[in-house]
């Protein structure tokens, strides 16, 4: 009797183990590795579309990646999220911000360029404003998003280039900037396409300066994608797979402009015309993932803004930049 009970218990154990193995087998074959991505400014074309398209078209899945996206408010938050290990990879963050974080001891590695040059950001004034070009804004109040941001950087370079001294005012994101301009809190504000292009079309505001006009910035990697150093050491192959999927998505975006415009419009609840106008601001060459160019520019800028007190050495930069 007792022997029968032992045989029954043994058989049940065996069956349970077999069952678990059978259940696990298909999972193991098709298992996707979760990749936590911190992406700033939800909805902007360059920060959002490549990843969203890579996910939609299944490029990430084909590389064995299941994306888990965190939207952040900007570079400072993205760097902190990745440094803390809450996200594995941070996208579209100012090169000088990542360099500053690295110099201050944060475990980060730059894995690719995100945008080269500044094809997107523009500054505008009210339609009834007497100012026609950036040169007219000498001594006037001009808005930028936040200290140390791309807009802050471009505005300072433009001021140097055109030899003007505007009063720089931190106004926040495009909606805050628009409010500040329309209520005359500042003389000029900034935006990024396609936000407020409809207002330009309607004649309510007038563009006075585009970041693309700055020749000195055309070959500068303005924003980069970066990873947590510990994560990169342990998952280098996964990071490379992610970049492969991202590159495929960027190619797909430019090979299929209609589909891209439709997705961009749907994602942001824009009209297709508005989305198309926004898409036109971004030439494909601005979204190349490699090479990472003119790092010296970002280092000089970080020094100029007193974000760092001394430039990183060549060895330190070699450790930081792992772009292939």
């Amino acid at each position: 009797m007792a022997r029968g009970r032992y045989v029954f218990a043994f058989s049940m154990c065996l069956l349970t183990i077999l069952g678990l193995l059978l259940l696990r087998a298909p999972d193991a074959r098709g298992q996707l590795q979760t990749l936590r991505l911190a992406i700033p400014q939800k909805g902007l074309f360059d920060t959002t579309m490549p990843t969203v398209m890579a996910d939609k078209m299944g490029f990430l899945k084909e590389e064995g990646i299941k994306p888990e996206i965190f939207w952040t408010s900007g570079g400072a938050e993205t760097v902190r999220v990745v440094t803390a290990g809450s996200a594995d990879i941070g996208l579209a963050t100012g090169t000088e911000s990542v360099i500053t974080a690295f110099v201050k001891g944060s475990p980060v590695r730059i894995i690719s360029s995100e945008i080269t040059g500044s094809p997107d950001i523009f500054w505008y004034v009210r339609a009834d404003s007497p100012y026609r070009a950036i040169k007219d804004l000498d001594g006037k109040s001009v808005g930028y998003s936040r200290p140390g941001s791309s807009t802050h950087m471009i505005l300072q370079l433009a001021a140097d280039h055109y030899k003007i001294k505007p009063k720089l005012v931190s106004v926040g994101g495009p909606p805050d900037s628009f409010t500040a301009v329309m209520t005359k809190q500042v003389d000029a504000g900034w935006s990024i396409p396609p936000f407020f292009l409809d207002k330009v079309e309607a004649g309510e505001i007038r563009i006075v300066f585009k970041g693309a006009e700055l020749e000195s910035m055309k070959d500068v990697s303005l924003r980069v994608n970066f990873a947590n150093a510990d994560f990169y050491e342990k998952n280098g192959k996964l990071v490379r797979s992610f970049l492969k999927a991202l590159k495929r998505a960027i190619d797909y975006v430019y090979d299929n402009p209609r589909e891209t415009t439709a997705l961009f419009a749907e994602f942001n609840k824009f009209s297709p015309t508005q989305a198309e106008a926004g898409f036109k601001f971004y030439p494909k060459e601005s979204l190349v993932l490699s090479p990472l160019s003119r790092v010296d520019f970002a280092v000089d800028l970080a020094l100029k803004l007193k974000m760092i007190s001394k430039a990183p050495t060549k060895e330190e930069l070699k450790k930081l930049i792992v772009v292939e």
């Binding site: 760097v79 902190r80 803390a84 974080a101 001891g105 500040a180």
Partner: protein, 249 residues
């Protein structure tokens, strides 16, 4: 009066807390982008003090808080008295003010920027609104809670309404009113510094903002320390003022 034991106990805790942070940072147990040591904050404070910027930022925030507190106190006390004096108003607005007090009024800051301009006036106005509500509510509550027996005694002694207000109502309601003033001050400090941080205008909040966005952790915490010092300064001043008023009564 505070005993030396109470003071010692408080400062021993502060010293241990700071020492633990110093050790954690020096042993690199936490990333410097998140936390920095008190000694490095002190060095940054010295540098900023030497450049003259720290003092001007500190004074600017103190000025904003002081103006907002004075306006909020005057309007709040008058409004609280009015709610008590005219019970219909009290019944109509008490719950509404309570609901407003619990809502995140800071989200209204863009409207304040539009109305008052992109400057310290908007910060002072926002702080005034934030600080005024608890002062109104506590003044109303304090006056309402005064024991009716005292009022009957006052009337029996043929005191005028003004005398009753001065010698009976206010002394009896004072602890509650002081609670409202302290709460109002706290909310003013929070809103002023939060708005300075958000819109990059004004005093120590901008210092913290610069520190956060430029990854300068020392500056970030210097802003926080500045806010704590301001809070201590104002709470001490308010405590002394209320003690003096109570002792007179």
């Amino acid at each position: 009066m505070e005993s030396w034991r109470e003071k010692a106990l408080r400062w021993i805790f502060v010293a241990i807390f700071l020492a633990v942070i110093e050790v954690i940072v020096r042993l690199n147990l936490v990333d410097r982008i998140f936390l920095t040591s008190p000694s490095l904050i002190a060095v940054a404070a010295w540098d900023e003090l030497f450049s003259g910027e720290l003092l001007s930022l500190f004074l600017l925030t103190a000025y904003e808080v002081a103006i907002a507190f004075i306006v909020a106190s005057i309007v709040g006390l008058c409004a609280g008295c009015a709610l008590w004096r005219y019970s219909l108003l009290g019944r109509a607005y008490d719950e509404l003010l309570g609901a407003l007090f619990a809502s995140p009024l800071i989200l209204l800051y863009p409207i304040f920027l539009v109305i008052f301009g992109r400057g310290i006036n908007a910060i002072i106005a926002m702080g005034t609104l934030y600080g005024m509500i608890p002062i109104v509510l506590n003044t109303h509550q304090g006056l309402r809670d005064v024991d009716q027996v005292y009022l009957k005694v006052g009337k029996g002694m043929r005191l005028s309404e003004r005398q009753i207000l001065r010698h009976i109502l206010f002394p009896a309601a004072w602890p509650m009113i002081i609670g409202g003033l302290k709460l109002g001050l706290t909310y003013i400090l929070i809103s002023v510094i939060a708005l300075e941080f958000l819109v990059d205008i004004g005093g120590v909040g901008t210092l913290a903002s610069k520190g956060y966005f430029w990854f300068n952790t020392e500056l970030l915490y210097l802003g926080v320390v500045g806010a704590i010092l301001l809070s201590m300064l104002f709470v001490t001043l308010l405590g002394k003022a209320s003690a003096r008023l109570l002792s007179r009564e």
